[in-house]
Amino acid sequence: MPQSTSQPVASTPADASELAARCEGITKEFGSGQTRVQVLRGVNFSVRLGEMMFLVGPSGCGKTTLISVLAGLLTPNSGSLEVLGKSLNKLRGGRLVDFRAANIGFIFQQFNLLPTLTAAENAAVPLLGQYVSFGRAVKQAGEMLDRLGLQAHKHKYPSQLSGGQQQRVAIARSLVHSPRLVICDEPTASLDAETGQTVMKLLRELAVTPQRAVIVVTHDDRIYKYADRISSMIYGRIIDVTLQGGVASASALAGSPN
């Protein structure tokens, strides 16, 4: 499986059918009156299926807010937003939740695993959310954990795992239901440099497929090499998109930080 992703993804401009997400003129403000803060100031951003897109920028520039909007967790004040061919602005309530359940995988900085569930059970949660039976969901999650090298840890609880292992469980959870968009917020920020590399390498190998887009928010430049493209954000706007050709370089550089 890992080999299947080691082909460079075409970097030619894609037509609309290849876009995983596209937003134009997105604004988002919090609060009102005196305490009003405008966080997104007209964001244009797109990510294609088959690529790993990094979203980088200084702390507080609005990265997390942007991916929250992309995931349908926050409603933008204005702008158009299309994710996997669906206009998210038009989805409401339960439909939006269902859309997330079926199409989006999440990886968080703090792992956010349930402490009272085993690794396999944690990874199975998205399947349970889609009414897959408990036994089948845990089995499927276990297979995903195998691919992440956690064979021996399936039945351990998060507290028995290292940070890197926990984030690998989180990767399994983000992929187990084969979502077409995976959103990661600072996935390596709680890990030491070496573990961060391992986790990113696994994420790169397992998450990037031709039918899926991966967005990684980070400000850790030591992992930039895993990106296909990098969008730089400053003060509520995307100011620059650079090509990184992440796949080839990632394979070459993996294991040797910087």
Binding site: S68, A101, L114, L117, G129, Q130, F134
Partner: protein, 379 residues
Amino acid sequence: MYRIALKMLFGDRAKYIGLVFGVAFSTLLINQQCGIFVGLISRAASVIDDTPEANIWVMDPGVKNLDTIFPLRDTELARVRGVPGVEWAVPYFKAMATVRTQTGELESALLIGADDNSLIGIPARCVLGDPFDLKRPDSVAVAKDAFGKVWRGEEISLGKTLELNDRRAVVVAVVEDLPKFTSSITFYTRYSQALQYTNNGRNQLSFILVKAAAANDPEAVARQIQAQTGLQALTSDQFRKKAIQYVIDNTGIPVSFATVIGLGIIVGVAVVGLMFNLFVLENLKHFAALKAIGIKNRRLLAMVLLQAAVVGLVGYALGLGAAATFFETAGRSPNFRGFYLPWQVAAASALVATFIMLLAALVALRRVLFVDAAIVFRG
């Protein structure tokens, strides 16, 4: 998701135990206190229940309970017997007497005099001796529980003698009666013998016990007796209710029990409510993550309700079990005799447990339903 809800609950052992304990404590307190309360106040009518043969009690119009009695004239017996629908009517004597125990201490005792011929008024269950020996002079039957109070530490036996109001009495039978409200020692004897013990001559009729003829409605017969004699005539049920109501209206017993029960409920609500909220609060970021991942509010709601239901059910079962154990073990002591766990109380406490959990869940649910899934990305 239900499996996950349960694992969340059981995984947090300390809080789970605390929650279950809170519900169990409330349930135990409610059942134990209500059981004792019901047992205690029904003692106010246990004299009636000891005499199931009669279904109407006739008494002075001013009588409100079984303890404050104004005697009727002997001639009333014949008048009551003359009322249509009366199958039989017998005299019944009830008064307090003083006994000197074998150690020389004085105790007050209840003395009941039953009809000389029929012995109606003597409890039916005889554990030793023969009630018909009461026909012998100076003979009494003693309640089983009372025996040990007069003859401390002794096995029940016949032939014991004692001073009853300064007059000799011989025990010829030991009977099992219901515990009384006002006294813990009861002696039974014939009506005429009872009059001798109390040194009062004529017109000492405490009650007239009546059995309504089978074809007649006891209530109608009671009304008829009342109309014809001017006395107060109540069916056993009416009198039981009246006597119990008297205790409820005129003693602090209901208030003190209600206070304890109320405290039990308040502590239950407070402890369980706070702890369940804490449980949900600690899991809030996990609920938010589940929301982000795509679990709908409806299912999160079901998860929380399931958690509450499990806590409620387990806590209730433990509390009820503990209450039942109490009545099984402590209930064997004579002081608690006749106390039991009425199913109505068990059912009511199930409602209370449900109420506690619903209240706790409702407050907690608000948090879960309104938590912003977007917090998953925030530290």
